[in-house]
């Protein structure tokens, strides 16, 4: 199950990725549940990894951390 979207600098573009909402919801709901930031990120990476098993561990980490950090800055 992959999104097959363009990748720039190892990071997938959120607008083009159908799993973006699931990843971000996981992150936000884990934070809202009082889980530490690092645990919320890990959960979001697992959800992302389910949708993108083809990605390397580094690619998964870079994409999810970019998405969540952009969300935090808004």
């Amino acid at each position: 199950m992959t999104c097959n979207i363009p990748v720039q600098n190892n990071v997938k573009t959120p607008d083009d990725c159908k799993c973006y909402k699931a990843v971000m919801r996981t992150y936000q709901e884990m934070v809202d549940a009082g889980e530490p930031e690092v645990i919320a990120l890990e959960a979001a990476k697992i959800v992302y990894g389910y949708h993108h098993p083809e990605d390397s561990a580094l690619g998964k980490a870079l994409t999810v951390e970019r998405w969540t950090s952009e969300e935090r800055l808004h």
Partner: protein, 136 residues
């Protein structure tokens, strides 16, 4: 109002500005802060807070069973907010996070640790799943 503030209000604790700051410090703590730690962090948010206020508030919270006081053989106490023990199941398709509790799971974890020759002191568990098609 945060969950902890609500539980304090439910327990009959009058909510002052300084207590609110102390509760915020406790709620955000990812460690087991000592009175001095709580005081230092609270002081950064409200410089008028005294260590006596922190002592009194932590004692009250302890009496109301809203925090647990740990003695780690360091000569002073550390505090932790009491939360209902639960786990999370994450829906990988939607990202929805479902909280759940399971007595069977708690027993099983204790049994596993015991079989391995350990007393369980902490653990972390998250489940990830897809909703079954016939389950609305």
């Amino acid at each position: 109002m945060t969950d902890l503030e609500q539980r304090c209000a439910d327990a009959g604790l009058k909510m002052t500005g300084q207590r609110r700051v102390i509760l915020k410090v406790l709620g955000e703590a990812e460690d087991h802060p000592s009175v001095e730690d709580v005081y230092g962090r609270a002081k950064n948010m409200d410089s008028s807070i005294s260590i006596a206020t922190v002592y009194r508030t932590l004692s009250l919270l302890d009496e109301l069973d809203l925090v647990t006081r740990h003695e780690f053989q360091e000569g002073y106490s550390r505090y932790e907010v009491n939360t209902d023990h639960h786990h999370h199941l994450v829906d990988v398709d939607t990202g929805k996070v479902v909280e759940f509790q399971s007595d069977e799971l708690e027993k099983l974890k204790e049994e596993i640790a015991k079989k391995l020759g350990y007393e369980l002191v902490d653990h972390r568990l998250e489940l990830y799943g897809k909703k079954l098609k016939n389950n609305k």
